[in-house]
């Protein structure tokens, strides 16, 4: 068991982390990037963290609101699934008009990228909760909010995790797209797009690969950590 965890850790976390460091060192030695490249990465990550956190907080409250009643859930699920199928990047031109070329545009794009997915898969998880658990809640005399927090959310944690995972992936995509269109002077997406203007293919490829690597790390490390803290500890998965 312990060996297995270390093996998967090796494969999923340590090797990618090691390769990303190696990649940056080689790229710096070759003179493709300098220290300011890390500033671009940091700014992108900061936007990602802010946008994703906002989306987590808002979706938590929306889920509390929609999870209380079955009818509300029925009413809003198709609406959510419609909003999921709208490509996030189509919002960016509208946001550019509304909020201007600024940090806000990108953060809202990240928010829109993950919010609907998280809420949708959480609600879908609520639907698949074992009805016996709800009966236990009735016997114990739970109120609606109590049964939501103490039964529905823990029991549907599997699909909540799926939603969080998809949310991170979609937000990262939205971030890159928004940074390309809403040309703020800094950020990884901006760097890919700007290096086209300077015909700097090496820089373009380096930033392309680092977008991929960081997306991959976000998707594995963060989610793996959360999964180990929750699902594996509770023995759901």
């Amino acid at each position: 068991m312990g060996d297995e965890i270390i093996m998967t850790l090796n494969r999923k976390v340590i090797i990618p982390a090691f390769s990303i460091v190696l990649f940056f060192v080689v790229a710096m030695k070759m003179g493709v990037i300098n220290i300011s490249f890390f500033n671009h990465i940091w700014v992108s990550l900061r936007r990602m963290i802010i946008g994703y956190t906002i989306s987590l907080i808002v979706s938590f409250f929306i889920v509390l609101l929609l999870g209380i009643s079955n009818y509300l859930r029925m009413a809003f699920k198709p609406v959510l699934s419609f909003f999921i199928s709208i490509p996030t990047i189509t919002w960016v031109p509208v946001l550019l008009i509304l909020t201007g070329i600024s940090e806000t545009t990108i953060i809202i794009a990240i928010f829109l990228g993950s919010f609907f997915t998280i809420v949708y898969s959480t609600l879908e998880g609520f639907e698949n909760v074992d009805p016996n658990l709800h009966r236990v809640g009735i016997i114990l005399g739970f109120t609606r909010v109590q049964s939501l927090i103490r039964i529905s959310i823990p029991a549907s944690f599997n699909s909540i995790m799926v939603g969080l995972k998809l949310g991170i992936a979609y937000s990262w995509r939205a971030l890159v797209g928004a940074e390309m269109l809403g040309a703020v002077q800094i950020g990884l997406g901006y760097l890919v797009f700007a290096s086209r203007k300077f015909y700097d293919i090496r820089l373009m490829i380096v930033s392309l690969v680092s977008i991929g690597l960081i997306g991959y790390l976000l998707n594995t490390t963060v989610i793996k950590y959360l999964e180990r803290k929750t699902l594996n500890k509770w023995g759901i998965q």
């Binding site: 009413a75 809003f76 709208i86 990047i89 919002w91 797209g177 269109l181 997306g215």
Partner: protein
């Protein structure tokens, strides 16, 4: 029965009330009229635009071509990759490529191929390619071993094994691959249309309308792109699922 009716009526009511709230907010002036169109204006923008069919058709054509190219190549590559049992890191390698957003390939292809349609098709095919390889490879790897023994017992030839055992066994993954590649390619095609400066396409329509502050056209583009994807999923994926996986009892 009651639930079924409610399942249809409630969402319609929600959509209607959302549109109503949107209208109301504009009427009382909570939203800026220069920046937000009335819902009726959005509808007008769809029906009055002479090029709307052209835009939709171009995007759909790109989507179709990209998914065909990416899916075919990806399927073959995934099948071939699954023959080797030794190399484990292929899966990680593929999932690394899957996590590169499609649009970030666009500048590379703009430099090497140039603006316009070829870039859109290249980037789209690349986006469609990786989910298919990953899913086919993964599916063939986790398929139940006893199916292989069954093929040996029945003395199937290699081709029979492929068509009667391997393909049906990974049907779930095949459909997930199609779904993922459709979804991602649709997003990417629209995004690349914005960046790579084509003449038609929904993404181009939205981005072009921004220059003239045609907010109604922009919102029309947003809702159309969502609606079209919903239709694609309903028509292609749901029918395919009902024909295969649900019929065979692999998924309820």
């Amino acid at each position: 029965m009651k639930n079924k009716i409610l399942n249809i009526i409630l969402p319609i009511l929600t959509f209607a009330s959302l549109v109503g709230i949107w209208n109301l907010l504009l009427r009382i002036g909570a939203l800026n009229k220069a920046l937000f169109p009335y819902p009726s204006e959005v509808l007008n923008a769809v029906f009055d635009n002479h090029f709307i069919i052209e835009h939709i058709f171009t995007s759909l054509k790109s989507l179709f071509i990209c998914v065909c190219i990416g899916y075919t190549i990806g399927f073959v590559v995934g099948f071939v990759l699954s023959f080797n049992k030794k190399i484990n890191f292929i899966e990680d390698f593929l999932s690394f490529f899957m996590s590169i957003p499609g649009i970030s390939w666009a500048p590379l292809f703009i430099i090497t191929i140039g603006f316009g349609n070829p870039t859109i098709l290249a980037v789209g095919s690349l986006t469609a390619f990786f989910p298919v390889v990953y899913n086919v490879y993964h599916g063939l790897k986790v398929v139940n071993k006893s199916f292989h023994y069954l093929g040996d017992i029945m003395e199937y030839s290699v081709l029979e094994k492929v068509f009667r055992i391997h393909l049906p066994a990974i049907m779930n993954y095949i459909i997930i691959a199609l779904k993922l590649s459709l979804a991602r390619t649709w997003r990417t095609v629209i995004a690349v249309e914005m960046v790579a400066g084509s003449m038609f396409g929904l993404g181009f329509m939205i981005f072009d309308a921004r220059e003239f502050l045609n907010v109604d056209v922009m919102f029309a583009g947003i809702f159309l792109s969502g609606l079209i994807y919903v239709m694609i999923e309903l028509i292609i994926i749901k029918v395919l699922e009902r024909m295969t996986v649900i019929k065979w009892g692999m998924k309820s």
